[in-house]
């Protein structure tokens, strides 16, 4: 009899406390706070940017004009935990400046011509980035360093007569910028960055040691996993 009562009490208590157990199961917080895929996997990011290019260094003496022909496509592998990313970018920059007719005096030679000065650079650069906020943050300021090569062509046309040089040159880049997602869980966002690009390029006839430039670019980026 006593044991029967005990069993009844246990059944009663189980019946009463059952909803409480159920609630504990539903409330288990770790089920709903699993890390985002961006924190779990190495993910991908592509960005397309364009903007202003300013001649720097000895190149500034040769090229008096800025350019808006300054584009870059970059691809990044974004690491989940350590705020780093690694990738590469391909760029296209073109500077041009036409000088009105004047007489250029050389040693024992005078040349009257309309000069057209042009530089085109196609850099391919391997980059590493450090971000100041976590991979899930909607705003991610970053710094970046890159090294690579570029096909560079520097020309100074006297009329249509070409002088100058071209070749495959070393490229070193240092950048700082920010990426802002349009929505905090979204894939698309806006990117703005400034890059100092150093390219050693010795053209003795123009007194140039480098064709460096400061690039300010704005564009869109897309991330996915």
């Amino acid at each position: 009899m006593k044991t029967r009562n005990n069993i009844l009490i246990v059944i009663f208590l189980a019946w009463v406390s059952a909803p409480v157990w159920a609630q504990q199961v539903i409330d288990r917080p770790q089920l709903y706070k699993r890390p985002s895929p961006y924190e779990r996997y190495t993910t991908y990011r592509v960005s397309v940017t364009g903007g202003l290019g300013l001649p720097m260094g000895t190149f500034k003496d040769f090229m008096a004009k800025n350019t808006l022909h300054n584009y870059q496509i970059s691809v990044d592998f974004v690491f989940p935990q350590n705020n780093f990313s690694a990738g590469f970018n391909v760029g296209s920059q073109y500077f041009q400046h036409r000088l009105p007719r004047q007489v250029y005096r050389f040693d024992g030679q005078d040349v009257s011509a309309v000069q057209t000065r042009a530089l085109s650079v196609l850099p391919v650069v391997v980059t590493g980035s450090y971000h100041f906020t976590k991979v899930t943050a909607p705003i991610r300021p970053f710094v970046q360093a890159g090294i690579g090569g570029a096909f560079a062509e520097l020309a100074n046309y006297y009329g249509t007569i070409a002088t100058g040089d071209n070749g495959f040159k070393l490229v070193a880049q240092a950048s700082a910028g920010v990426r802002v997602l349009f929505s905090s869980k979204g894939n698309l966002g806006i990117e703005a960055a400034a890059t100092y690009q150093h390219i050693p390029f010795d053209v003795a006839s123009e007194g140039i040691k480098d064709v460096s430039s400061l690039n300010a670019r704005v564009g869109l980026f897309y991330r996915w996993w």
Binding site: H69, Y71, V90, S92, Y94, Q96, R101, V103, F106, D107, G108, Q109, D110, V111, S112, A113, V114, T116, A118, S120, L122, F151, A155, Y157, Y158, G159, T160, I161, A162, T163, G164, D165, N166, G167, S205
Partner: protein, 209 residues
């Protein structure tokens, strides 16, 4: 195996096409150049020459023409216009024109050069690195950069002043001044006088004291 090779080669092809398209984004720097802007006047002079020491000059009454290995003379209205402009400019600088037989100090040649080049070039470095004008006709001229199989013809004016005063018997007289006039529209009768004026204007040292 065969399939993966196909996919790989397709990818490389795609990459190649992509880079070509990317590279083709570079604009042509000379496409908006007017004919007048293409004109280049190059003058060379012998630095130790005192141009004030000379008094007279002689000029042929026709223009010499050089076309690759062939040479001749030409007496088109354009040529007379050219010779007239050179004579006027020399007179303005204080030199007297005399006949060839009366011992002129300076001899002037006006030459129209037409050169045709053909061949094949590897296009990694299409630029001729520096100025290549030497003295004298036919040597060291610059040819515009071209790719693969090419044939170009460039025709230009070449003027030269020869020092007959110091020339010794049996020796070639030295050239103390020359000019090249290159570009579009330089064989236009209406503009040739202005062009010659420009050539002399940039040679301000060329005058009798």
């Amino acid at each position: 195996m065969k399939k993966s090779f196909f996919v790989l080669s397709k990818n490389i092809l795609f990459l190649g096409v992509l880079m070509t398209v990317w590279g083709a984004c570079t604009p042509d720097p000379l496409k908006d150049l007017t004919p007048e802007e293409t004109q280049v006047f190059i003058t060379n002079y012998e630095k130790n020459t005192k141009f004030g020491d000379y008094k007279t000059f002689s000029l042929a009454d026709s223009v010499f023409t050089l076309q690759n290995q062939r040479s001749g003379v030409s007496t088109l209205p354009l040529d007379f216009r050219m010779l007239g402009s050179v004579t006027n400019n020399m007179a303005k600088r204080g030199y007297n024109r005399v006949s060839k037989t009366s011992n002129p100090d300076l001899g002037i040649n006006v030459v129209r050069i037409s050169e045709t080049q053909s061949g094949v070039v590897a296009n990694y470095n299409p630029w001729n690195s520096y100025w290549g004008f030497g003295g004298g006709v036919g040597g060291g001229f610059y040819y515009p950069p071209t790719y693969s199989y090419y044939q170009t013809t460039e025709t230009y004016w070449h003027l030269e002043i020869v020092d007959l005063k110091k020339a010794q018997a049996g020796q070639q007289a030295s050239i103390i001044w020359n000019a090249q006039i290159r570009g579009s529209g330089i064989f236009d009768e209406s503009t040739v006088a202005t062009i010659v004026d420009n050539v002399f204007a940039q040679s301000d040292y060329l005058k009798r004291n």
